[in-house]
């Protein structure tokens, strides 16, 4: 039997680790003291500013700015780098042929049998600009959630007047993802306890059993959702109720933060190199 180099349990643990954003709030930094709505709007401004420039220097400076914000926010740097690394890597793969198909100044060439591959300077610059912009935007989006946590996100969505049905379901969905992962782990543990041969890796046999596991998982979690619903009703839950929205009450430091960040972005956008 051939094994894939991964295990189901490993995949689930990895997903749980990547999803968990609450721990970042245990070491509040300067960014945590900014009003959540001002903070999120300021950070989203960086994303929009990145779309207005084609300068690699400007994008690099914005990336440095985000790096500085990460440092003063007190989030776990290792977690942050892990969460922000995958999408830029995907973006790099997507644009890999660009240096080969973009005409321009010769930079490097290699022959692959009868095929001559030529890399142009302009092509490399286009790839660098694209990946830098994606990395910058991903970095900002992840920072928003790592600083505010899921509750900060819910408050932000409430503040922009999204209906209660949306925010309530989003909050429950986030919890159910962990519930589903925990339930899957318990099912895997129960299966291992009943199996003579302990497997740590994903096999073809495991793959065949996955549909049965998913169906059983659906039943278990649905039964629990019924119990959750009854508990929620007992506590006066209604879908019309909104998550407590953060009202915009900026103080001097909030306004100063927004003004400073906007000024820095405007300054960076003037760079044409």
């Amino acid at each position: 039997m051939k094994y894939a180099p991964i295990s189901v349990r490993g995949l689930l643990s990895g997903l749980e680790y990547l999803l968990y954003v609450e721990e970042s709030n245990s070491h509040p930094g300067i960014l945590h003291r900014i009003d959540p709505l001002t903070r999120n709007i300021s950070l989203i401004l960086i994303i929009f500013a990145s779309l207005l420039t084609h300068s690699i220097l400007a994008l690099s400076l914005m990336l440095l700015l985000v790096g500085a914000l990460v440092l003063i926010s007190g989030v776990n740097i290792r977690n942050y780098l892990l969460k922000t690394s995958l999408i830029p890597l995907f973006s790099l793969i997507i644009v890999i042929p660009i240096p080969l198909i973009t005409p321009g100044t010769f930079l490097w060439s290699a022959s692959l049998g009868s095929l001559l591959l030529t890399v142009s300077y302009e092509g490399v610059l286009r790839v660098a600009e694209f990946v830098l912009r994606v990395w910058l935007c991903v970095g900002v989006a992840v920072l928003i959630t790592m600083v505010g946590g899921i509750n900060g996100l819910l408050s932000f969505l409430g503040a922009i007047r999204l209906p209660g049905l949306f925010t309530q379901t989003l909050a429950l969905t986030y919890r159910y993802v962990f519930l589903s992962i925990d339930e899957s782990m318990r099912m895997l543990l129960a299966r291992d306890a009943r199996t003579f041969k302990k497997r740590n890796r994903l096999s073809l046999e495991d793959l065949r059993g996955i549909s049965g596991v998913i169906t059983a998982l659906l039943v278990r979690v649905h039964e629990r959702s019924d119990r959750v619903y009854l508990a929620m009703r007992a506590r006066g839950f209604s879908i019309s109720s909104r998550a407590s929205p953060c009202r915009w009450r900026p103080n001097f430091s909030d306004i100063a933060f927004l003004a400073l960040l906007s000024s820095l972005l405007l300054l960076i956008l003037t760079i044409r190199v």
Binding site: L86, R133, T173, Y176, S180, M232
Partner: protein
């Protein structure tokens, strides 16, 4: 199919945001006062399930990423309005937790996956299932899911291609890249949707009755199970 930040041009961002917000506003209006509170935990459960399913994806050269959507199953089980809201929730969570799909591209992602991905399969299913019978219902679910997947991907390709030079490839590369990959994934989507819809009806027939708007589908779905 998630479009990250930095892939779309400003005009495409604005157009897709306006369209997505308009359709979602209609969805919220349609479900207002028409949703049983009991449906919310179930909706969250299905949303969480497909949230996890979408995490398995791979990058496409000339496009974005390819993965199963789960949107057809949400559309058929919850109806087009609740289905599109559920899918939008998945996209917002993925956008902020993983940056998988960007803040600026949220409008485009909602249009491709929560509107086209949910409503096309539902419309095809409704149209085909009117003929009744096990084969017609199964074909409606399968073909609807396939078509929803492919059309959503083609729409993503169009948005990317029209965003050049911000996006590095034009329409002639982005649309086929997305369409070809998702026509293969669409077959898997059709199969998965069939399995999920039928399993759900089999293990929890009450699931469909929770959404009053879907009651029209119960006889055909029940017929399939009884045959």
């Amino acid at each position: 199919m998630h479009i990250p930040d930095g892939f779309l041009s400003l005009p495409i961002i604005v157009i897709t945001y306006v369209f997505a917000i308009s359709v979602l506003a209609i969805s919220f209006r349609k479900v207002k006062g028409n949703v049983d509170d009991r449906l919310v935990p179930l909706m969250a459960l299905l949303t969480a399930l497909f949230f996890a399913v979408q995490m398995v994806n791979y990058p496409i050269i000339g496009g974005t990423t390819a993965h199963l959507l789960g949107a057809p199953a949400l559309g058929i089980l919850l109806g087009p309005w609740l289905g599109s809201i559920s899918m939008a929730i998945i996209l917002v969570l993925q956008c902020f937790l993983f940056a998988d799909g960007g803040v600026t591209a949220l409008g485009a992602n909602i249009l491709n996956m929560a509107i086209i991905g949910v409503m096309v399969p539902y419309a095809v299913y409704l149209l085909v299932s009117k003929k009744g019978g096990r084969g017609a219902v199964s074909f409606g679910i399968f073909f609807g899911a396939f078509l929803g997947d492919v059309l959503g991907a083609v729409a993503a390709g169009l948005e990317l291609g029209l965003s050049a030079p911000i996006f590095q490839y034009g329409v002639s590369i982005a649309v086929p890249a997305m369409g070809i990959h998702h026509s293969v994934i669409g077959l898997a989507e059709g199969f998965v949707t069939l399995v999920v819809v039928y399993s759900t009806i089999k293990i929890r027939p009450s699931i469909l009755t929770l959404n009053r708007g879907l009651s029209v589908l119960i006889p055909s779905a029940g017929g399939v199970m009884n045959e």
